[in-house]
Symmetry: C3
Subunit: 134 residues, 3 copies
């Protein structure tokens, strides 16, 4: 059992949640934890090579004011934070095979931040401890 | 402390998140992990005996294209995946008493996939490790 | 590694999810677990001193009927549940520095339930085990 691994299943595809996921990934990597990211559904779609920097919206409860705040906040883009996480630590980013099939994607369609695709069985073969779902 | 138990608090009631939850439950059960599912709010409502197979919508960020993709994807329904998880492993599905009270449900109103109802204290009496919230 | 700590990153700012988070915090505290809450984005906004009791809406899938059910349910408000959790156990509630900066908040702008603000590095210095994201 490796509980020190920080396993993130990222499902949501809005910029606010992707930023929250990236901040946690950077923080965990900086503390020396191995980080394992599994991209599903709308999060996977957000990692498309031709669209990673586009506006992916925010959670509905943000409202117009919240959406404006997120857009005007001058921090690093979440994709840049994931890049930093990979530079400072042991961070793998995997695409969920079922979601890849649903979208009709191949790995080449995704941003190079994504290492590969794998099924849920392979994910759980590596992760035998906690899972954080975002 | 039993960290090998995979504890899922399922709150969201859209078909995409319920499918993600079911895929993780099947994956964990297939790897021999005990799985403990606690249904709250809109997830509980989705398990109603008279409505489990109806269209429960998808996350707002899916948009019309995403919703169509989910509907056209020919995989097993999430209720069938939970059924498979129960067949292959030690998987309990419990309804949160507070949510049951809010909806005015009794256990007989729910799909037979749900084993029983329990309060949050009983949930934490069984779960002393990680919790994944969906 | 302290796996008995229950670490909640609360991101969502709707009343239903905040209530789910508060119920889990109370349950974990009642079972003697240390609870560590980290408020980000819309959850942080919901803890504003001048607005904690206002209507924060519910998840979109609730629909009009679900929203009415949540409003009419006569349970304790989620802020009261967090207060109870702090009374019965060792529960810290911390504001995420990045989100504080985004909103332009200072700790004095927040309800006294919030103990302080901290960065994600400080969060992971305390939390070396599982993380539940809501």
């Amino acid at each position: 059992m490796d509980d020190s691994m920080f396993s993130l299943v990222v499902f949501s595809g809005t910029d606010d949640k992707l930023n929250a996921a990236a901040v946690l990934a950077v923080g965990a990597a900086a503390m020396g934890r191995k980080v394992n990211v599994f991209l599903q559904y709308w999060a996977l779609d957000a990692f498309r090579a031709d669209g990673i920097l586009k506006d992916h919206g925010v959670a509905p409860e943000a409202g117009v004011d919240g959406a404006t705040l997120v857009q005007q906040h001058h921090g690093a883009h979440w994709s840049e934070l994931f890049r930093q996480a990979k530079e400072i630590g042991d961070v793998g980013i995997h695409a969920c095979s079922l979601s890849m099939e649903m979208f009709g994607f191949e790995v080449a369609d995704l941003d190079p931040l994504v290492d590969d695709q794998e099924g849920v069985a392979a994910f759980f073969a590596e992760v035998d401890g906690p899972v954080t779902f975002i």
